[in-house]
Symmetry: C2
């Protein structure tokens, strides 16, 4: 397997982008990655997106975006894995370059959600869950996560307020990110007084939707070195699934797909969790932050919130997470999120994270979760 | 790049499968491929599907199918490239195994179309075209192909009746395929008297929709040889795009994406068109058969129908096409079609094509077209 590296990144601001079409959003991020990398052409484009077929009446996004960014005639495809679509698209780029068949691949994640009525978007997001065994019971996607959180609190004795530091940390870091949807800090009181969405999940536990796109340019490590550009090596890349319906899992409080993909990624990188300097985790809901920390080997089972309460996850803590706002403050345009995480990891490792800049960035990890933990993709990056 | 081979295949009949759910259809094809290959586990599953998000209220098909066929915890993703989704999923499997990161990959294509009202399906199929520049003008997907056919007839002096042999050949071969939706021959009179869909395309020019699934198991060539099972080598695999909107093309009568991907595939295989023994082409419409023969180097520009009129495309002709019925008679469950083509090529090369069995099957080629020629994937297989 050929070693691969990222030589360029691009992103748009996450917000209600009513003046930009789906192709313009994806194009802005893609063209920024072209410019950042110094490349003028690619061999293949992999587009991560969840629900453009219903939200934007447009499928076939590989061709659609390739055409728009001037890469007509090149290979292109659309990759979907619910909210982990963008990491899946990035992994497609990694495997294509690793195979040697493709020399330069662009991964773009894009989602344009705010044009649709919110009820419709809720229904579309729910297609990430099991239509026959979950949705037919009338449950929404937030409600599924609320069931997990409630059980977790019951099982391990946590109160709702103990999840506040995840949200407070994300918002504190989002202040430093000009591309974040929310760039204002919140207090514990804001968190406690926020309106409930699906008990116990309130608005400050849940990440906001948004329109946005992010992109990364992938080449072989040898070519990156030849170019002499500032690049970041992909030293771990792994994906794993779990049952799509939560009630079919052996243990609904363990993200088995995260355990599996993180272990594989550590093994590929030849490191342990102790070597990771920061972790862009998938804080779609605060409960997912806790479960991710546990599944990736940073906290014991049932102890995820302890790390947050102890301040370990802040920019000066032992394991900074959501360093540029995470899903909670940057926003969660679902099919783009995995590439936002990767773009932010690269910014940290290139020393371009502004006021969120960390000191130690030798190894960075990203983890993108699709469905309610049913498809989890872990990447580990190494500074060169 | 590691060499790869197909060690197992599976398919369901194409028909109105009202008694089978989406997961049951995909599962039936996948489990048949497991049994055929003798494998009990895979590392990754790539699911080709176009429109389950709208037609079946279910996305996240990678996880959904992996879970259903007992491959929970393995990697999985859903690949979409409109009507070339299944070939794109197969190519993902090829690249994953070629990279060395994945040792055994299953590609499954599935589409369940007949549960939706036909007007809705027509709208969903149109998401393969350009929503902003084509669909907003009120054109349907068939109408786009009718525009191409009309222009082709005008430009090169063909009459509608000259396209009849494509349809007659497909139906003649479909008689030999127990999985074909239509297993009865048609006459030239049937063709000429068929009701018009979008002039000049009539029902006998157009392939029927259907529900179905097809699958192929991909491993390294070395592993296939070690297993000692009857396998088929993948010697060419290439994908290319064109503009998504037809009117943006330099020449709407040339399938540039087919020219590009076929050339790349020939080059990888180290052969020329003359070496190809049979060609499973994408006869979604008779005009596409003519354009494919030209783009892949078998006929000169504007001369595609000549091959059909001369009998070159029949089972005993110079280049048999649609040997088990093609899209026209087997049926076109869009996101599954590319894998049906591959399954049928493997059947030919293993000598299991029944009354459609060809004598010479050293090299077989498949070509799957997404959109109105905007994403075309060519594979070349070699008998071992």
């Amino acid at each position: 397997m050929r070693e691969v590296a990222i030589i360029g990144i691009g992103q748009t601001k996450v917000e209600e982008q009513w003046d930009k079409s789906l192709r313009e959003l994806a194009g802005d991020a893609a063209l920024a990655a072209f410019e950042d990398s110094g490349q003028t052409s690619v061999d293949a484009i992999y587009v991560g997106n969840m629900m453009s077929g219903s939200a934007n009446s447009q499928l076939h996004l590989g061709t659609y975006i390739a055409d728009w960014v001037g890469m007509r005639y090149r290979e292109a495809a659309h990759i979907e894995a619910a909210c982990s679509s963008a990491a899946a698209a990035f992994r497609s780029a990694v495997l294509a370059v690793a195979s040697g068949d493709v020399n330069c691949a662009l991964a773009v994640g894009v989602e344009k959600m705010t044009d649709s009525p919110s009820g419709e978007i809720t229904a579309q997001l729910a297609t990430a869950a099991d239509a026959d065994y979950e949705l037919d019971m009338g449950v929404s996607f937030v409600a599924l996560n609320a069931l997990i959180m409630k059980r977790y609190m019951h099982e391990f004795g946590w109160q709702h307020e103990h999840f506040a530091p995840f949200s407070i940390n994300a918002h504190a870091n989002g202040v430093n990110n000009p591309n974040a949807r929310f760039q204002s800090p919140i207090t514990k009181e804001t968190y406690l007084r926020a309106p409930v969405v699906a008990e116990p999940i309130n608005i400050m536990d849940a990440s906001p939707m948004g329109d946005g796109a992010a992109a990364a340019m992938v080449v072989s490590l040898d070519f990156a070195r030849y170019l002499g550009v500032k690049s970041v090596q992909v030293v771990g890349s792994a994906a794993a699934t779990d049952s799509i319906a939560i009630h079919h899992r052996e243990d609904p409080l363990t993200l088995s797909a995260a355990v599996t993909s993180a272990r594989q990624a550590y093994s590929q990188a030849g490191i342990t969790p102790a070597d990771i300097d920061f972790f862009e985790l998938h804080d779609a809901f605060t409960i997912m932050s806790a479960l991710s920390l546990e599944a990736a080997g940073f906290a014991e089972r049932g102890k995820g919130p302890t790390m947050a309460l102890d301040g370990d996850i802040t920019l000066t803590g032992k394991l900074p997470v959501s360093t540029l706002g995470g899903l909670k403050a940057r926003g969660h345009p679902v099919g783009a999120t995995g590439l936002y995480q990767i773009v932010e990891a690269v910014l940290q490792m290139r020393g371009q994270a502004g006021k969120s800049q960390l000191e130690r960035t030798r190894y960075g990890m990203t983890q993108n979760i699709g469905g309610s933990g049913s498809n989890i993709i872990t990447h580990i990056f190494k500074s060169l």
